[in-house]
Amino acid sequence: MKPTPFEYVRAGSLGEVLSVLEERGDEAKVLAGGQSLIPTMNMRFAAPEVLIDISNVAEFRGIEVRDDVLRIGAMCRHVEVLNAPEVAKHAPLIAMAMPSIAHATIRNRGTFGGSLCHADPAAELPACVLALDARFNIHGKTGPRSVCAQDFFLGTYMTCLADDEVLISVDVPTANPENVFFFDEVARRKGDYAIAGLASQATVRDGIIADARLVFFAVSEVAIRADRAELALQGVPLENIDAEAICGAIADTITPFDDLTTSSAAKLTMMQVLTRRALETFASQGVAV
């Protein structure tokens, strides 16, 4: 349970991060909080030859609001995000999800960007950023680029980051008064991996659902949008939400994977229970909007 030997670089600047990545390619891994990377290395599922510690590089830090965007630095630790008033105000969905992310001690070290780049199928944050239509600010040797959440996640533990690229920050559109949010997951204990989870955002205008996003996690290789159910909710008055039909649309379009403890059928039932809770939240909180 000890990692294989590796070199360690404490980067002093973004330029240094990029030059080591360019030189070492897939031999290098970026070290943020290390709460997923180090266990993976301890179990020798991963054996990078060099770790680039980005904790001292200013570009990766900080939470700020600019116009209608909340920018969260990749190196922001979960505990910072959990306690940030800007996140509670402008991205309530993320604030709602934070207490479910691992345990308090892990949240003290683990980072927002690290969790996204790790791309665990059971992770909460990928589903949240998909529901919120966030954008990822990435830097590589050819310069900066920005990708939407949908394009960032490619599969289990796989993202669109090239070997020479690093995630700098994530831009989340700030919430407006028409938005209603729902987050919940089924887990054996708080902090354990979710068995099934749902992150959701709806836009309610004059008592009618203008737009809804239902994003499930821990049920497929990447967090997945229930497209057909989302479509079925569009234009529906809050008092006419047909939960039965929405749950049916989810069953028709998503077949959750089995995992070691839970069958596909059981996960589907959990997804439908979570969906009903989300719809109840929309119906009750949307009225006040």
Partner: protein, 159 residues
């Protein structure tokens, strides 16, 4: 370089300097320095026995590299015991039979200490949630929650 690099960590206020391989965990560093109250259980972040404080916040000693802590302040159970900050928790653990073999106890104490620092009167649910990252294979947790709840109540009465 995978060869040893000289680092200095302030452990319980005292500087500890040594050349370390980058792969050395903070927990292994601390144990080699004699702070053997930091226990290593699972070595992948699940059991919580290696919990210490880094720059004032609890951290997994097994998921933190010693080299990441170069120049930082670390507190172990020896430090929190020495300055008396967890004395009432320790007494309550004994009184409530909140330990048997004691392997998880340093981690439990430091984690409970952080909870009580952040939250004056936590509910039993909050106590359970905060301690959910710390495994105990002896007590069944009930008595640990009892002990933490008792200390929270006593501290709240005093304040």
């Amino acid at each position: 370089m995978t060869s040893p690099i000289a680092i200095t960590i302030r452990v319980n206020g005292e500087p500890a300097s040594r050349a370390v391989e980058p792969r050395l965990s903070l927990a292994d560093f601390l144990r080699a320095e004699g702070y053997t109250g930091t226990h290593l259980g699972c070595e992948h972040g699940v059991c919580g026995a290696c919990t210490v404080r880094v720059e004032g916040r609890t951290a997994r000693g097994c998921l933190t590299l010693a080299i990441q802590c170069d120049g930082l302040e670390v507190e172990t159970i020896e430090g929190a015991t020495g300055n008396g900050r967890v004395a009432d928790l320790q007494e309550a653990f004994i009184e409530n039979n909140a330990l048997q073999c004691g392997f998880c106890t340093p981690g439990m104490l430091l984690t409970a200490d952080e909870l009580l620092q952040d939250t004056l009167s936590p509910s039993r649910t909050e106590i359970r949630e905060h301690l959910s990252g710390n495994y105990c294979r002896c007590t069944g947790y009930q008595s640990i929650v009892d002990a933490v709840e008792q200390v929270a109540r006593k501290r709240a009465e005093r304040s």
